[in-house]
């Protein structure tokens, strides 16, 4: 197979206990795409994200990103290959400041030694300053700059979602995995989120892979969709193709409804 600079997943199978959460999954993301991953509850969508980011080891298959094999690599190594994600249930460092949350994501970019950290050398100051500036720039982008010194846990729900995206952006990702970014948001916040996704995708030249249950959002923003049910890919293609896909309608609405219509 020709190797592109995007994401290639071949024959990915993840077993959790006796359950095959994902089986034989093939998918490919090209650089700059915005692709959705949808499916009914428990279809294995988050498991796919977990396997991509090294949280659970696949029992078969390969994950290649940007021509590098990331199969079975631990999460901190995956992160260094500039693949970042957000979580379905927000996982910020709630007791730390908004700014510190971002600077933690900047971790791999710091080069100063522990000694120059203790002695506050010029190297320490210049790097910390750079990190601060970069973090503030990103906060500006997501509209949280005025909250930089507040504890992350004090942000509103929508604010915390934005901060999670901001934190992922600090890692200068090439591929951003968003796990239900609109969950629990009101329509106004969702609209804001859509704008934000477009904006960061353009500004950072990102490829975005998105899990979402909000079908309006999915149909509006995604260029292409993959549909998962019981860990198996049951449909893929453009929004229109997926909409009219017989198997997809069946998975979402059930057999009976389909017969009636």
């Amino acid at each position: 197979m020709a190797q592109t600079r995007g994401l290639q997943v071949t024959d990915l199978t993840v077993q959790i206990g006796g359950l095959k959460a994902v089986s034989g999954l093939n998918l490919e993301l090209y650089p700059g795409e915005l692709v959705g991953l949808i499916g009914p509850n428990g279809a294995g969508k988050t498991t796919v994200f977990n396997a991509l980011t090294g949280f659970c080891a696949p029992c078969a298959g390969r994950v290649v990103f940007d021509t590098k094999d990331l199969t079975n690599k631990p999460p901190h190594v995956v992160a260094k290959h500039r693949l970042a994600r957000t979580f379905q249930n927000i996982r910020l460092f709630k007791e730390l400041s908004v700014l510190d949350n971002l600077k933690i994501a900047y971790h791999s970019n710091f080069k100063y030694s522990i000694l120059s950290g203790i002695l506050r050398s010029g190297q320490y100051h210049s790097q910390e300053k750079k990190a601060n500036e970069f973090a503030l720039e990103i906060l500006e982008l997501v509209g949280l700059a005025d909250r930089a010194q507040d504890q992350a846990g004090t942000l509103s729900y929508g604010g915390q979602r934005k901060l999670e995206i901001a934190r992922a952006l600090v890692m200068k990702p090439k591929l951003l995995l968003l796990d239900e970014p609109a969950a629990g948001m009101n329509p106004f916040e969702t609209a804001e989120l859509v704008d934000l996704i477009y904006k960061v995708k353009k500004d950072f030249d990102l490829t975005v892979f998105l899990i979402e249950h909000d079908m309006d959002l999915v149909m509006n923003v995604c260029e292409r969709l993959y549909v998962l049910d019981y860990g198996v890919l049951i449909g893929q293609g453009s929004v229109q193709e997926v909409r009219t896909n017989h198997k997809v309608i069946q998975a979402y609405l059930g057999e009976e409804l389909l017969c009636q219509s």
Partner: protein, 295 residues
């Protein structure tokens, strides 16, 4: 001696000894903060730190400061090895398994030290000539000053590391959410190793300071200070770094006051009385978070 002079004197003695309890408590509290483990072998690291210092001074003829640094470095290494061998394989095991392992590691190190260094106590070399400085109606010895000063410097350095450096930020991130930290590109194994190294080096410094203070070291010297350091950590709020410092100072002072105004029989009992009181009245500790344990 007037009663108030005695009081001041005992508070001085207490703060000097308490600063060492603080150093030990910091190791307990940092390790707990990161991997939720009470490292009961911590007192033995303190003991071995004192032995490393002893040999650095007697065999290599070093002065106190280089001996202190060498001992801290060796203890760091020991802490990392201990974590790798004893605790890392149990990272995902029930917490009680790791706790029992910690007690086992403690006994192992104690026996290993007895086997290697002999069970008898060794006189700690007198590198610093004894001096007494008048302080109002009371006195402070130069050794107490060194003890307090070294402890204070180490605490300030620790504070800078934890609050202002990249590795400290990573430590705080790991203690709040390991998995999210991994995703930020933080090598969690390395941060855990670093935490053990940091905690162990503080304990080793404490071991040398106390060896110098009491002029003697033995393979069992880590047991009581270990338990007292643990109590100090719980008193301040386990997992909270400033809490460990305050807890240690309170423990040291309480111990000395009980000896002076009560009876020296209760010297060690006071630690456990405090532990029981804390667990009854404020289980989270003085600076601890009142929230329930995460499950």
């Amino acid at each position: 001696m007037e009663w108030y002079a005695l009081l001041i004197q005992q508070v001085i003695n207490g703060l000097a000894l308490g600063s060492v309890y603080s150093l030990i408590a910091l190791g307990y509290t940092m390790v707990y903060g990161i991997i939720k483990l009470i490292n009961f072998a911590h007192g033995e690291i303190y003991m071995l730190g004192a032995y490393f210092g002893f040999y650095a001074i007697t065999v290599w003829k070093l002065h106190l400061a280089p001996a202190l640094i060498i001992s801290m470095a060796l203890a760091s290494l020991l802490g990392i090895v201990l974590e790798r061998i004893a605790y890392k394989p149990l990272r995902n095991a029930p917490r009680i398994a790791a706790l029992i392992t910690a007690i086992g590691a403690s006994l192992f190190l104690q026996s290993a030290a007895q086997f290697t260094f002999g069970a008898n106590f060794k006189p700690f070399p007198q590198v610093i000539p004894f001096k007494r400085i008048a302080l109002g109606p009371a006195y402070i010895t130069n050794r107490q000053l060194i003890m307090f000063g070294v402890a204070l410097i180490l605490m300030v350095v620790l504070h800078i590391i934890v609050q202002y450096t990249r590795v400290g930020r990573a430590m705080r991130a790991v203690s709040l959410d390991k998995e999210a930290a991994m995703l930020m590109g933080i090598n969690v194994d390395r941060i855990i190793s670093f935490t053990f190294a940091l905690g162990s080096s503080l304990a080793a410094a404490g071991g040398i300071l106390v060896g110098m203070y009491y002029n003697r070291i033995d393979p069992y010297m880590g047991m009581m200070p270990g338990l007292k350091g643990f109590t100090a950590a719980v008193l301040g709020g386990i997992g909270v770094i400033p809490g460990a410092v305050i807890g240690g100072l309170i423990m040291g002072t309480a111990e000395n006051l009980v000896v002076a105004f009560g009876s020296s029989t209760f010297r060690d009992a006071v630690a456990f009385a405090i532990l029981i009181l804390v667990l009854l009245l404020k289980p989270g500790g003085l600076l601890g978070k009142s929230e329930n344990e995460k499950v």
